[in-house]
């Protein structure tokens, strides 16, 4: 693995995904920005991040767990192709991408949910 370094890995990803890499990175940045903005807003009104964080964590985990069995289709295989622990681990890691998206959206949604809003506005 000595020849794998961040630069070569970036080029491999870029050559694999092409322009989609930039689209995905842009979406990731936007999602992160949304999460940070939501968190800041909630903190500003005196809310705690505990609830949105737990909700995001749970949603991320559940979505990733479900998507673990969908990931093989992305490689033109079926879920039955997963057999060893390392297979499940890598499928789960890949499934963390949609999981993180779902978790990020959940975080933003729960951050804006009413209980802390009511507390802060009442």
């Amino acid at each position: 693995m000595s020849d794998f370094n961040p630069v070569s890995l970036f080029y491999i990803l870029y050559e694999s995904f092409g322009v989609w890499l930039w689209i995905l990175l842009t979406l990731a940045v936007l999602l992160l920005a949304g999460v940070f903005a939501s968190a800041r807003k909630r903190l500003r009104v005196g809310g705690s991040l505990k609830r949105p964080f737990i909700a995001a964590f749970v949603v991320c985990g559940v979505v990733a767990a479900l998507m673990t069995f969908v990931v093989p289709y992305w490689t033109l295989a079926s879920p039955s192709a997963l057999s060893a622990g390392i297979d499940y681990l890598f499928a789960f890691l890949a499934a963390l991408i949609p999981g993180a998206i779902a978790g990020g959206i959940t975080f933003m949604f729960v951050s804006r949910m009413c209980p802390p809003c009511r507390t802060s506005t009442s």
């Binding site: 080029y11 050559e15 093989p72 490689t75 295989a77 192709a81 390392i86 297979d87 890598f90 499928a91």
Partner: protein
């Protein structure tokens, strides 16, 4: 003073100056060498990219008439019916780096004494250093009765000839599975590119038949050219076990000599004489040889196992020609044991480029190639074994968490999703 020595001396001064100003050991050479790369396949393009970057003052000329570039590791997936020919077809023009002259002609003659290559249009190109990366020739005609035009007809498949033929092979496999009968597989006796591919297509056919609930209708026979299914013993044992589990029969020391497409009969040379087998489907892997331009030149081995097919004589650690030290052979054409895969090219190219850079910069070339090659052996759709080994047949796994002899989806993930990106990055000299 000979031109090459002059170049080295001048470059050494340049490199020394560069080192003084930058304070960093030179990984570039300022040599104004004339470099010719014969062949714009995987090795040729990867060489061009790295040489352009590491030898900015060199004149680099790439010679190849071929405009299309095929991602050959993907041909198995085309033949499996999973990828389309377009998925493995690109343009060489998209990978020729800026500052490299591409002469769109074929090399027809190598004259290493005069340090000249001649093209099919009569152009004579002089060089200080020559990289021969012509690839190899698929010698279908060496099998009596066989012709490329037969692929996809009369139950004949062959994934090596190109994307269209791989797609035609996919259709032939599907038809065979539906019609049933006897399917023959095998490989030629000599050196060949991607020696795992004949086994892969056997496994793929078995798997597709099982998925179609037609495994009972097809009999699969693998005709090995040697007393083993694979040259690396632990891999051979594993493949034997898988064949046994999947009821794929094996014949040993069978080399395809002739086919009769009309009668669907294949004749094999064996130690006990010719043997003829009836088939309904056959996957033909042609003998592979050096192209005529190389074979007819002084560059091939003069004796030994690699001489007959015209592979270029090369030191197996440095890929440098022992009789013509300004000539290097890279990729399929190199007369070294194993090493005819894109993965080999990935490891060969940095060795020869870094050594030339070091030499022309006045330092001692130290890089060596250990024969690394890799074969993601597809054993079913969705499963593969990531087999990597060196000249000694020693397994050399790149990823400590991936067992090379275990059928894994993660190895399939690398085959189906990872290799193409890594290959393209290699062509650009970035991996």
């Amino acid at each position: 003073m000979r031109r090459r020595e002059f170049l080295i001396g001048a470059a050494a001064l340049g490199a020394a100056g560069s080192t003084l100003t930058s304070g960093v050991a030179a990984q570039e050479s300022a040599a104004r060498a004339r470099i010719v790369i014969a062949g714009a396949g995987a090795a040729g393009l990867a060489l061009a990219s790295r040489l352009r970057r590491q030898m900015p003052n060199a004149t680099i000329t790439l010679i190849d008439a071929k405009k299309e570039h095929h991602f050959q590791p993907g041909l198995t997936l085309v033949a499996a019916g999973l990828w389309q020919p377009a998925d493995v077809t690109e343009r060489n023009a998209d990978y020729v780096p800026r500052g490299v002259e591409w002469i769109e002609q074929a090399v027809t003659e190598f004259d290493p004494e005069a340090k000249i290559v001649v093209t099919d249009k009569g152009q004579r190109i002089s060089y200080d250093f020559l990289f021969v990366a012509t690839g190899l020739m698929l010698d279908y005609k060496a099998i009596a009765g066989m012709d490329v035009s037969l692929i996809g007809r009369n139950g004949i498949a062959s994934i090596y000839a190109g994307p269209a033929q791989a797609a035609a092979s996919a259709a032939a496999i599907d038809h065979f599975i539906q019609a049933g009968g006897v399917g023959l597989f095998g490989r030629p006796a000599g050196e060949m590119k991607c020696a795992g591919a004949p086994l892969k297509i056997t496994f793929v056919t078995d798997d597709k038949a099982r998925r179609a609930n037609r495994r009972g209708a097809v009999k699969l026979i693998y005709n090995a050219h040697a007393p083993a299914l694979f040259a690396v013993p632990p891999v051979n044992e594993k493949v034997k076990k898988l064949f046994s589990e999947r009821e794929i029969a094996a014949n040993y020391n069978h080399v395809l000599k002739a086919i009769d497409p009309g009668a669907k009969r294949a004749t094999y040379t064996t130690p006990s004489g010719d043997v003829t087998l009836d088939y309904d489907f056959i996957h033909v892997v042609p003998p592979m040889r050096a192209p005529d331009a190389v074979r007819n030149s002084p560059l091939p081995w003069k004796s030994g196992a690699l001489a007959a097919d015209g592979w270029i004589e090369a030191d197996k650690a440095t890929l440098r020609h022992p009789r013509y030290p300004n000539v290097f052979a890279v990729g399929d054409i190199a007369g070294v044991p194993r090493g005819k895969t894109a993965a080999s090219v990935k490891w060969q190219v940095p060795v020869v480029v870094d050594n030339l850079v070091a030499e022309t910069a006045g330092s001692t070339p130290r890089k060596t190639y250990n024969g690394y090659t890799s074969c993601p052996m597809v054993t079913a759709i969705g499963k593969a074994m990531l087999i990597e080994f060196d000249y000694d047949g020693k397994l050399t796994p790149s990823f400590p968490f991936i067992s090379p002899l275990e059928e894994l989806w993660v190895s399939w993930l690398i085959e189906e999703k990872g290799l193409k990106g890594a290959y393209r990055a290699m062509l650009r000299g970035q991996a």
